[in-house]
Each structure stands twice: as C-alpha cells, then as structure tokens.
C-alpha cells in the first residue's frame, strides 16, 4: 500500500490533514473495539477510515487529466503520517517533507507557474492567468489571449485571491448548524429527494453550458422541478430591450475600436458589466492622439451618478434617472428614428442644445458611431438605443448582436417572484440555492425570507455562511473558482474554462457537484462533469488534443457566439416612446438609484478587505456606502457630508449618511448595494447600510418619489481624499466650491488637460504649464546610470480610475489592509493611489484621475534625510527601501513631495492566521511594524527578468518586465521600461509632446512621468 506512484507537493494538505486528524482522533476515541492495531493497513482497511480518506481526498477531486495519480499518493502519505501522529504519546507538529522522486520538469522552487483559468461575475467569464507558487495561487493576471481580457483584469479578479484564502470562508458542511460530512449530505439528499419532489433550483445567471446541461438533466429527472435564476445585479433589461427592438432576445456587444462617436446612456461600459475590460481597451485605443495623427474618438455621457465613463467623456450631462428614457426618446427623435417622439410633457429644454449637438454628431458619423444603453437603464432606453443604432447603420459595424450568453434568458426578477409565491403557498418541497444569497439581496417586496420558511428542505451552497445559510437546513461550502472545474461564457460568448490551482482548502463543492447529487448517476466530481459534457459537445475525434489545448489556453478557440442577423422592428421606437409617454412623468420627491458597489459589487465581496479598503472612484470612500447627492440637492435640503438622513420609499425607510458628490445629477440620490450585511465575516461586519431594504422587484434600479428626512446624527465615513471636506459644506457666507484642494490642484498644474484643438496647434502645451529647473542645480552630483534606467509613464487620458492597479499592487506586494479607523486617520497603505481632482463647476465638473506611486526621483528628497540609509538609490535609478535597516523616523515621508510613502504605524500584516501565509507573494518581504514602505517599481519582477536575461546572456528585452499596475491596466495607460533604451516603449512615451513631470519645479527629476489628458469636445457645445 505504500507504493509511491508519484510525489506530490500540495501545500494545502498539511493544514487540512491537521484538521481531519482531530476528527479522526475523535472518531477513534469514540469507537469501541480494539484500541490497538497491528499495522497501518489494518486500520486503513476499516470503513471508518476509508470514509475519512474519501472525505479528505475525494476521488472526484482534482485529478490531473494525464491520469497520473498524485492523489493516491497523498492519500496514503497522509494516512501513514496521521496514524503515526495518533500513536505518538504527545502531539507532534505535522510536517511533511517529501522529496521528489522524480522532479516535475516545469516545477522549479521559486519560479512561479501560470495556469489559464477564468472567473465569473454575474455568470459571465473573464479569462485569467493564475500565478502559482509551489502549488498555491498568489496572484491572477489577465489572459492575454482571452478576448475579454487581452491580458488585463478588473479589480474583482485581482482581489479574488484574497477571497480564496479568506479565513472566514465557510469550511464545513453543516446540517442545522451541526458539522456533517459531504457524504452525509449526499446520502441524506439522495434518500430524501423523491422522484415527484417539488424541487426548485435557484442560481445566479448561468452561462455555463455544462452546468445548464446538468440543470436540464435534473429538471428532466424530476418532473416537478423548476429552475429560477436571480442576480441582484440583474441585466434582464438588456434582453427586454432587444426583445422589444428585434422581437427576440439577443445579446449585444460593441466594437468601440470602430466607433468615432460614442453616446453612453447611463452606461458605464468602461468599468462595469461584462466585457468592460475589453471595451476599455478598445475604446482607449481610439483616444491616443499623436503628433502625426491628431485624431481621437468622442464620447458623450448622460448619467445620474458620475462614473468612470462619465469622467472620461468629452461631454457629460448629469440627468436624473427618471428622465433618461425621455431623453433617449428625444434623442431618437432628433436623430430621425422613424416613430420616435419626445414625450409630450418632457422637459428637455435645458438639454435641448446638447441633445441636438449629439444628434448632429451621430448623424455625421453613420456607421461609425454607437449609442450604448446602460445595464441599469430601462428596457425602453435599450430599445431606443437599438433603434438609433439601427437607424444609423451601426448594427453590424460597431454593434454586433448574438444569441444570448445566458443559458436561459427569462426575466430574472419575475422568476424569483414566482419562486417566492410558490414557496409562500407551500408548493416547494426542496429548494437548492447555489452560490446566491437571496435572503439578503432579494427584492424586499417578495417577502422571500418569510416564504423560505415554508420550504421543507432548504439547501445552500456558498463561499460563506451568510444570511441565507442561516435559514437553511443544509449548508455546503462552495469551492472558490481557483479550486474549481467549470466553464462559462465570456462577454462575446467565448467558452472559458475554469481549472483549479489548488485543492479545495475547505472541502468546497461547485454548483455542478451539488447538482450532480440530484442526478441518477449520483455525486460526481466537477472535473468529470465538465469534461464529459465537452467530450460530448466537441466530439470524440481529437478531443484529448483539443481539450488540452483549451485548458492550456483557458478557453475553447473560436467559440465566440457568431453574429446573428436581426431586423429592427419598425414600430419599436414608437412603442417605446409611447410607453415612456405613459410612465415618464416626473414625480415629487427625489429619484433613488441603486447601483452595484464599485468595489464590493452586490455584496458578494463584502468580506474582501482589499475591496473594502479600495477607495471608491470619485467619492474615495472606503468601508461604507452612503447616499450620494449633488451639491445642489444638498444645499436645497440642507444636507451636510456624513449627516445621517432617513430615506423613505413608500413605507420602507433606511437611515444612512450623506456624501455630497459634485457632478451628481440633481433631484436624485444614488445608493450602492452590497453593504449592511447582517451575517458575514469579520472583515465585512458592521460596514455600511443595506440598500436592498428599499429595493423592490418593480423598480430594481430606479425609484421615484423617495423622501429625505434629515436627522441630527452623524456617521463617520472614511475617505482617502478630502479628509476635511472643505468647501462642500460651506459656511453661512461662503460660496460652495471645491475648496482649497480644488483651487490648489488647478494652480499647481498637477493634471494637465488640453483639447484636441490645443494639441493640434501646440502639441507640447503641457510642457509649457510648468517650470523644470536645469539639471545641474543640485548640490549633490548627478547619479550615473550606465546600464538600465527604469522609468514609467502614465497616460492620464487613458486612465479611467477603475482601481484595478490599486488592488493588483496590493496583491503583488503583500500590502496589508488597515481598517476603517486607520483610513479615517489617513494611514491607508496603498502603494499606488488614484488621485481624483474636480475641475470647473460644482454641478458638472470635469473629473480627472491621476494614479500616483513612488516617482523614483533621480534627486530623491527622501534619500538625503534618512539617518540610517534605509532608502537608497540603485544603480538603475530605483529608489530602494531597505526594510531591515529602517528604524522608522518617517523623515523620508515628510520630505517626499508626492507623499507616496506608507508607514506601518502598527503591525498591519496578519502573520498569525496560517491560511493567509499561503496568500503572500514569496518574492516580496512582508513588512512589520515601524517600517516605511512604498512602491518599488515591482523590483522583484525586475530581478526575475534580470536573472533570466543573465542566464541567457542577453539584455532585458523591452516589455519583458511589466509592473503589476501596468500588467493589469485595462487601457494600457501605464508603460514601464528602460529609459536608457531610446527604442523602448517608455522612452517613446516620455518623448511624446504631452509628457510632463509633476512638481518638476522642485528639481526632483521624477522617473515617473505623465501624459497630459486630451479632450475632444464638440465645438458647438464647447463652453466659452
């Protein structure tokens, strides 16, 4: 039995076997009968132990497709060791040092391996490469070959690694809060689920073909079964829109690379929704004006709350959400869509000129323009957008329609309502909720929680024990996607595969594995479920090769959904206009808009510290949500920042603090979802306010007629910028404004902005906005950089402020989170921050994002003042931090004009929780208390590349090193490289006429430079 087939190196096994060791001792103590055994085999033969092994290393676990059985080896190894531990007198720490008998060819300690996988959000996949250090995933990158990624990711993917290792994750199968085994669940479920059981399945949006097939199988085996889908961030308006525009549900995708004029109707296509990463890349590829090609696209944005897309827009119109449909109708009418008409009472007066200019611009760009309706816009807006696109011949050019991504594209909210009704009527025997949390996020009017209690048998699968699991009989811990086999469609339909990087840390199961329990074949491993499906789907011939290729690539090649020919219904625009006419009356009170949170989404990332602490774009709030209002509304209602208000919709009310956001549309209030959880982990507990309590199935995104009542209470909100909120809460005699911060930012020319017209006339206008002293003014001799000289350039015109770089940096560099109180004190640790500046008028300002990290100054003020030489200059121009040497005087930070240094005021890094040790990047020091830290230009990546280059006796190639922020950036705004190499991309960027340094007048000679932002305003709308 101890024949060793193959060595194994699963770092996760040691801790898991420790857990199970305890269970085993317990079992053995409980057993009567012989307390001694002659051999390990004897005990291992017992059913009890077989059962345990089965749980520990289930056969349906991660079996490598090559058939080599590592699992068997680990099973036996840990059995031997566990028993060895049992027989010992004292408890020895379990350590397994297993030398390789045969060293796997690719596995070199210290060198990471990358595996393609994919993560879903709202059911839609994005392609990733997961970095694995000795069997543990530490970081994810975008999959450069995946169409939805092209090598970049959003912040959710970046933060997902932290969720994997979250110690608060659900770790065991429970039945009525008692710990049970998976096999007990399987047995119990199979014996209690009768063929005529009124079984209901509740899932999020499913695009996975294999999961959908499995669901269909379950549905066919249980004639009484039904399947419901619900996502709190529902995109059903899109499908409804296409239904009314084309008469059938189709998916819509855009080709922004082909669009000269883009109109976004409450659509934040650059940072939210499926495909945002790809869209951002495509869109920005048309925004880089060069001296020899001074052209760029133009973006108009109409939106209630300022979003990344709105901040990038050349023209932005703040509009309350209830007026959006009227606006769309008026725009359609103006563009000349037959049948479209502006609603009779619609007040577009002040927007009239704007609207006409947009319409003219659209008409002038037939076939190369696109109107995008947002995920949260009404279906009428979608229908009208399709009508305009159809009318302008954009369909087939900038807009492509395909079959829906969703396996079943029925209305989600309606489906959940049916379920709630049936439950309340006692017509549901078994409810299986797969990776969803309806008790928390179902529309409040459905009475879901009360109805749920009527169900005889409630099963929940989830990463966490949450509000829903509290109401369930059975709870099964879900496998994280980095532990799972699976598949899903990307924004364009590409089948993306998910493969595990690590064995489930906590016996987690995938949705498919739970579903398989209900099938005739019984419980099967996720790998088999996925593989068998695709074996059938792709055909036997050459399957193995194709399958391996697909796993290697992370997706099945050429599986994007093909364009379908859809004809615009001629009466669509007229119908939509008519519906708007009926409903589009502005009511009293304010509009209330619900939006998924920019960092914790619908609440699923609530316990993810990186996302909680990531400053939200524009508000820069962390750890909380707030009622976002415009300055005008705040003045009108007498609201101040952080003041608690009671928001009432119908008979439901919610108390939450106000945050005044310049650029927000008047007459409306935005509240982000995902906060105020009652049952979550330690990180997310107690943060924010639950907007779901106001959200109904009838109005998931916009409610009209909400009332605001002021209270005298205040709430502490932690924002990383504008700590003092000067100007936004003006005194009796002061004019509201952006305060000193705003004025000073403008005066200091930190963000330099010009129009395309400026650029054509004077390409280097940005360089004339500041003063750069001659280089020989310093007392100290200049450094010489004979070899490489690293530098970085950031294109402000391409930055959307999406925060992906912030989280990527946190993940790459083992940056700790500090908590709300620390952020409120100004002690956040992010090495890269995105400075946000408002410019212009308070009601519709221009917003600029400026990522700032260590500038690696050639004459670095920090180096001179450090008394112990803990921050020193490298021969390649890096400003290095020597953590071991730092005593923590903080003088360097005081003397840093860019304030990019971060200090460990306490021991912020959690080095006690064992599972978090797996998370760390082994190439980066984990800093302790009392030490200064800052951006290193990812020096560990530089050194990796240097070692490779030296081994191959060559220079480091341009582009070989990519910093974490650069690699993740969806818009390729960040370029890093050797500035000594005139051919390098960074040299090219720095030699552009738009390139400038911030605070150059101080003579610091920063290595990080910026490219000024260009806007392409419509001349007829340009403010005088």
């Amino acid at each position: 039995m101890t024949k060793i087939d193959h060595p194994a190196e699963d770092s996760s096994t040691s801790r898991r076997s420790r857990i199970d060791l305890a269970a085993m001792r317990e079992r053995l103590q409980g057993t009567r009968g012989p307390r001694f055994w002659r051999s390990l085999d004897e005990l291992a033969e017992t059913e009890e132990f077989q059962q345990l092994l089965h749980n520990e290393f289930p056969e349906m676990g991660v079996e490598l497709p090559d058939g080599v059985s590592r699992r068997r080896f680990v099973q036996l190894m840990s059995a031997s060791l566990a028993l060895g531990g049992l027989t010992a007198c004292t408890r020895q720490p379990l350590e397994k040092i297993v030398p390789y008998v045969e060293q796997p060819e690719s596995l070199v300690p210290g060198r990471p391996l990358y595996f393609a996988t994919s993560m879903t959000l709202g059911g839609v996949a994005s392609g990733l490469l997961a970095e694995s250090h000795m069997g543990r995933p530490t970081k994810v990158e975008g999959n450069p070959e995946h169409p939805a990624s092209l090598g970049a990711t959003d912040l959710f993917a970046q933060a997902s690694v932290l969720s994997l290792y979250d110690p608060d994750r659900s770790q065991v199968v429970t039945n009525l809060d008692r710990i049970r085994s998976w096999s007990a669940f399987v047995e119990d479920t199979r014996s209690k689920t009768l063929a005529d059981a009124r079984l209901r399945l509740l899932t999020g949006t499913v695009t996975s073909p294999s999961l959908a097939a499995l669901i269909q199988q379950v549905l066919s085996e249980y004639p009484q079964a039904k399947w419901h889908q619900y996502d709190a961030v529902t995109r059903s308006n899109l499908l409804h829109g296409t239904e009314s525009a084309f008469g059938r549900a189709v998916a819509t995708r855009y080709d922004f690379a082909a669009a000269d004029v883009v109109v976004a109707l409450d659509a934040d296509f650059l940072t939210s929704g499926p495909g945002a990463v790809r869209y951002a890349r495509d869109f920005m590829s048309r925004r880089r004006a060069a001296a020899d090609h001074p052209e760029m696209n133009r973006l108009y944005a109409v939106e209630s709350m300022p979003t990344a897309t709105g901040t990038v827009a050349d023209h932005r119109l703040p509009l309350r959400p209830s007026q959006l449909a009227s606006f769309a109708a008026a725009l359609a009418a103006e563009v000349g869509v037959p049948g479209a008409s502006a609603p009779a009472g619609a007040n577009v007066g002040s927007q009239g000129e704007w609207l006409r200019a947009v319409a003219r611009d659209l008409q002038a760009n037939r076939g190369s323009s696109v109107v995008v309706a947002g995920d949260y816009a009404d279906s009428e807006v979608h229908a009208l957008a399709h009508a305009i696109n159809g009318h302008l011949d954009n369909i087939g050019r900038t807009v492509v329609h395909t079959e829906p991504l969703e396996a079943q594209s029925e209305g989600q909210t309606g489906s959940l309502a049916d379920l709630a009704d049936d439950m309340a009527a006692g017509e549901v025997d078994i409810l299986v909720m797969l990776d969803c949390n309806p008790v928390y996020d179902a529309p409040v009017d459905l009475g879901f929680t009360a109805a749920l209690r009527q169900v005889g048998r409630r099963v929940h699968l989830g990463l966490y024990r949450n509000e829903t699991s509290e109401h369930c009989h059975w709870h099964v811990p879900a496998a994280h996607y980095l532990e799972s086999w699976g598949d899903a469609r990307a924004y364009d339909g590409t089948i993306s595969l998910t493969q595990p990087l690590i064995e489930p840390l906590y016996d987690g199961k995938t949705a498919a594995e739970v579903l398989s329990v209900f099938t005739e074949e019984g419980s099967r491993p996720a790998h088999d479920l996925v593989r068998i499906y695709w074996q059938a789907a792709l055909g036997e011939t050459g399957f193995e090769t194709r399958w391996r290729r697909a796993l290697h690539d992370g997706f099945i090649a050429d599986s994007a959904l093909p364009a379908v020919d859809v004809a615009l219904r001629t009466e669509a625009a007229a119908e939509a206009s008519a519906r708007i006419d009926e409903t589009g009356q502005i009511t009293d009170g304010v509009d209330l808009a619900f939006r998924p949170d920019p960092t914790i989404f619908d609440g699923r990332f609530n316990n993810n510290g990186w996302l909680q602490e990531c400053p939200k774009p524009l508000t820069k709030l962390t750890w909380d949500n707030a009622a976002l209002v415009s300055p005008a509304l705040a003045l009108e209602q007498g609201l101040e920042n952080t003041q608690i208000v009671e928001v009432t919709v119908d008979d439901r009310s919610l108390e939450l603090p106000v945050w005044i956001l310049p650029g927000h549309a008047d007459g409306c209030m935005t509240i982000h979802l995902g906060y105020g959880r009652t049952r979550t982990g330690r990180v997310g507990s107690g943060s924010g306010f639950d907007a779901y309590r106001l959200r109904t199935s009838a109005a998931p995104w916009t409610v009209t007629g909400a009332r605001i009542r002021r209270t005298a209470k205040r709430y502490k909100l932690a924002s990383t910028q504008l700590h003092s909120n000067i100007g936004l809460a003006p005194g009796p005699n002061e004019e509201p404004g952006f305060g000193v911060e705003g004025e000073e930012a403008e005066r200091r020319h930190l963000v330099r902005v010009g129009t395309l017209e400026n650029f054509r006339q004077e390409p280097d206008f940005a360089q004339h906005m500041g003063h750069t002293p001659p280089e020989d003014l310093s007392m100290y001799p200049p450094w010489e950089f004979p070899g490489y000289a690293w530098g970085l350039s950031i294109d402000l015109g391409s930055c959307t402020g999406c925060n992906a770089c912030v989280v990527a940096c946190q993940s790459e560099n083992n940056i700790p989170i500090v908590g709300k109180d620390m952020v409120a004190m100004g002690r956040e640790m992010h090495w890269i921050r995105i400075d946000r500046y408002f410019e212009g008028e308070l009601d519709h300002p221009d917003v600029h994002h400026q990522p700032v990290m260590c500038m690696h100054c050639e004459q670095a003020p920090c180096e001179v003042v450090c008394p112990v030489g803990a921050t020193v200059h490298s021969s390649e121009g890096l400003n290095d931090m020597v953590y071991n040497r730092c005593v923590g005087t903080r003088y360097c930070s005081n003397n840093c004009p860019y304030k990019v240094r971060r200090f460990n005021f306490f021991k912020y890094n959690d080095t006690e929780t064992p599972v978090l040790e797996l998370l760390r990047n082994p190439d980066v020091t984990v800093r302790s208390r009392g030490v200064m830290e800052k951006c290193t230009y990812c020096v560990q990546r530089i050194n990796h590349a240097r070692i490779e280059a030296e081994k191959e006796e060559r220079e480091i190639r341009d582009g070989e090193i990519r910093t974490a922020c650069q690699q993740v950036c969806p818009t390729e705004a960040i370029v890093f490289g050797d500035v000594n190499d005139p051919e390098s991309k960074v040299s090219a960027a720095k030699s552009k006429p738009l390139s400038y340094d911030i605070l150059a007048e101080l003579g610091t000679r920063p290595r990080t430079s910026y490219l000024a932002k260009l806007r392409n305003p419509n001349q007829s709308l340009e403010k005088t």
Binding site: D835, V887, R929, L999
Partner: protein, 455 residues
C-alpha cells in the same frame, strides 16, 4: 556692586555665613509638606509617562495621532520645545560668565539643572518617536560587523551629535560648578549617609588654592566650550526642518530664529521656576527683583527677534515668488490650524510686549504670567512649524489633518512630570543656588549697602 537706581543682586544684611546657612539649610533640613505633595504629583505623572511609553513600545507608533502626510507630531514638537527650554541654563552659565555678568550667580545653578532635565526630557523623544525604538542606536556611528554607518547627510544624525554633545558638556559644566558646594554640604551634613554621599561626590575638595586654581581654569574652559554649543544645538535642530524641502521648513532664517526662540523659551522657563521657588524657599534675598528684571529684558529682546522671524517668513513667502511658500503662509493664517497661529501670535508676540513696562518686569506675578504665555507660545510655534507645514504640502490629494491622541498628551504631560520630579529631587538634594559664588558676591554688594553705612 549695586548700580544706582536698580535693585540689588543680593538683599542687604547678608554675610558669607548667612548665605551659606540659608542655602545649605534647604538641603540639610526636612522638606516642607508642600514639597512632598508636589513631588508626589510629579512622580505620579512620571508613572503615567512610563505607562504610556510601555504602551507605545508594545503596540506601536500608531497610538499617536500621526498619519501620512503628518509624519511628525507631538514627539518632535516636544523634542524641540524641551531642547529650547534647555538653552537658558547654558546661556546663563557660560555666556554670562564670560561676559562677567555677576547677577547670573544666583540663578545659574538651577538654570543649569533645568537645562539638564530639559535635555533629558528632550532626549527621550527622538528615541521613542521612531517606529522601532529598539533600533534607535543605529543612528550612532558605531563599529559593526555589517560595516554600515549612519547616513551623514541626514540632519537627524547631526542632531544625535549636537544633542549628545550638549548634554555631556552641560552635565560636566553643572557638576564641576557643584563640587565646592558639595564639599560645603559634606562638611555641614549631620547624617552619616549624607556625609558619605556628599563626600564621595565632592571628589576630595578641600578648598586649597590649587583646588581653586584648577577649578577656575576648568570652569572657564568649559564655559568656553559650552558657549558655541548654545548656538549650535538649536541651529542643528533647526536643520531638521530647514534641510527638508517642505514649504514652512525650508528657510534660511531658521537657525538664528530657532536660537533666539530657544533663549526666549529658556528664560521663560527660568522665570516660571524662579518666581515660585524664591518665595517657597524664602530666597527673595538672593533671587531679587533685579534678576527678574534682567531676565524679562532678555525675554523681550529675544521675543522681538522671534517676532522678526515670523515677519520674515511671511515676507519671504511673498518675496520668493514661490507659490508653495505663499500658500503655506496663507494656510497658516486662514487654514484649519489658524487658531493655533493666532494663539501663537498672542503668546509669543503680544504677551511679551508687556515687558516694555518696568512695572511688569518688577512684579513677579505678572512676569510669571508672561512667562507662562511664552511657554505655551513656544510649544505652539513648534506645532505650527511641524504640523501646519506638513498637513498641506504639495499634492492636494494627500492633504490631511492631525490631532494628538490621549497618548500623545499622556507622554507630553508625563515629560513635564519627569522634568518637575527631577527638579524637586534637585532642590531637595543639591543647593539650588551656588553657595560659594554667592559668598564671593556678598562682600561686593554689602560694603556699599546703605545699612552697612549706617552701622
């Protein structure tokens, strides 16, 4: 040596013997009850300090209100404040000795002691303000196997040299000056322990001519050595700021302005201590109105220099044409910390103007009040320099606010407790006025005294 129209340095009616009796009796008799109460109170503050320091070392710098951008706070403010206070002692002892200002005699001893204690309090802060206090010794240039030296371009390293030199010289100077008096106490002590202790400390002083000769030479040499230190220490401390490129720190006026401020603060503290001590220990005969007047004049003069410094800062901000400088001043005047700035002007510029009036200078109570204003004002000055400059520097995105936490206050107040406790121990165990130097003055003052004539 009484100048006509001025109060005497020593009150009439004293002989060398009476001087010795009166001063040494303070040490050799039981302490009054108030001393126990006062010492007990300050000792309690020392315990609070120790508690706060323990918490600091166990938990980290984060218990203070510091953040990014305000990386320095109370610790540095207190350091500079205490160092400034520590200036008066050496100035009185050394410079006034070299200038042959006889009136210094009755105040130099406790001014020197005050200097030492203030420097001790000051020295505490650089040690504890670093993130890893157990490694603070890395600022010293000591031979080590890693072959690493401190980074000599950093003003913090200069600080280490300046402050340790100053502390050493001040201690030597003070101790050398004490030796003849320790011998007096040895001779007068009744208890055996006191005899042995004072005898040990007086290093075999027998008052021979050789002893006196050696004493005078070394004291003069030390005075010469200490004199440049009075200027250098605070100059170097000001470099901590002036070398930085931060608006509000980066100014060439800082060295003279800091030195003047230090003397200003130092004399204020001497007055703060002298006024109560002279009445509590009945020393009005030795610390006379004349002393108080002179100190008031010095405070007025240095106060005016400090006020000039404030004016020049504002002028230079405008004259430099540098917007960052200009903004820094505007932010001081209009920004969120403007009340600190106004309070600073009230304490350091307006309050000392009262010293133009002789009536104020010769009324101990009023002088005490002015001195208290200056003590507060000088602390505020450092607060304004450190915090107001840091909290809004170059990038508006990184601006922040700062406020001391209760632990900041505990350590600050605790350091005052430490200072007072040391001072109370000093007046208990050592002669707070130089006995032998007073004896040398008595004949000069008494011969021309009116009473003597009438007798």
């Amino acid at each position: 040596m009484t100048t006509p129209g001025k109060p005497p340095i020593v009150a009439p009616g004293h002989s060398p013997g009476s001087v010795t009796d009166q001063i040494s009796s303070i040490v050799l008799t039981r302490m009054p009850r108030w001393w126990w109460a006062a010492f007990g109170a300050s000792f309690a503050l020392v315990m609070m300090l120790l508690f706060a320091l323990t918490k600091l070392v166990v938990e980290g710098t984060g218990i203070w209100g510091l953040n990014i951008p305000v990386g320095w706070g109370f610790a540095i403010i207190n350091f500079v404040w205490w160092i400034g206070i520590g200036h008066a002692g050496t100035l009185i002892s050394a410079i006034l000795l070299l200038l042959r200002q006889d009136w210094r005699t009755s105040i130099n001893r406790f001014a020197e002691a005050m200097t030492l204690f203030a420097v001790a309090c000051a020295g505490l802060f650089p040690l504890i303000h670093v993130g890893r206090p157990w490694l603070a010794y890395w600022l010293l240039p000591y031979p080590n196997t890693m072959d690493i030296w401190p980074q000599f371009r950093s003003p913090l390293v200069w600080d280490v040299f300046a402050v340790t030199t100053y502390a050493t010289v001040s201690l030597l100077f003070w101790y050398v000056g004490l030796v003849p008096d320790l011998a007096t106490l040895r001779d007068r002590a009744r208890q055996r322990l006191a005899k042995i202790t004072y005898g040990f400390l007086s290093m075999g002083w027998r008052g021979s001519a050789t002893h006196w000769h050696n004493y005078e030479t070394s004291y003069l040499l030390l005075a010469g050595l200490a004199t440049p230190l009075v200027v250098s220490v605070h100059t170097v401390v000001s470099f901590d700021f002036a070398v930085g490129q931060l608006p509000g720190w980066h100014a060439t006026i800082f060295p003279p302005y800091f030195v003047a401020g230090a003397i200003f603060a130092g004399f204020a503290m001497v007055i703060t201590l002298a006024v109560p001590l002279r009445s509590l220990f009945d020393l009005k005969d030795f610390i006379t109105i004349r002393h108080l007047q002179n100190m008031g004049k010095i405070m007025l003069a240095t106060g005016l220099i400090v006020a000039y410094g404030y004016v020049i800062e504002i002028f230079m901000a405008w004259y430099s044409g540098n917007w960052f400088e200009e903004f820094m001043i505007l932010n001081r005047i209009q920004g969120p910390y403007r009340m600190h700035w106004y309070a600073l002007l009230l304490c350091n510029v307006l309050a000392p103007q009262l010293l133009w009036f002789k009536r104020v200078r010769s009324t101990p109570a009023l002088l005490f009040v002015v001195a208290m204003f200056v003590n507060v004002g000088m602390w505020l000055e450092r607060f304004v320099i450190v915090v107001t400059s840091l909290h809004r520097d170059f990038l508006p995105s990184s601006w922040g606010m700062y406020a001391g936490t209760r632990w900041d206050w505990a350590i600050f107040v605790g350091s005052i407790g430490l200072f007072l406790a040391l001072l109370f121990l000093f007046v208990r165990f050592l002669p707070m006025i130089s006995i032998f130097e007073m004896r040398t003055i008595v004949p000069k003052t008494q011969t021309r005294g009116p009473e003597e004539v009438s007798q």
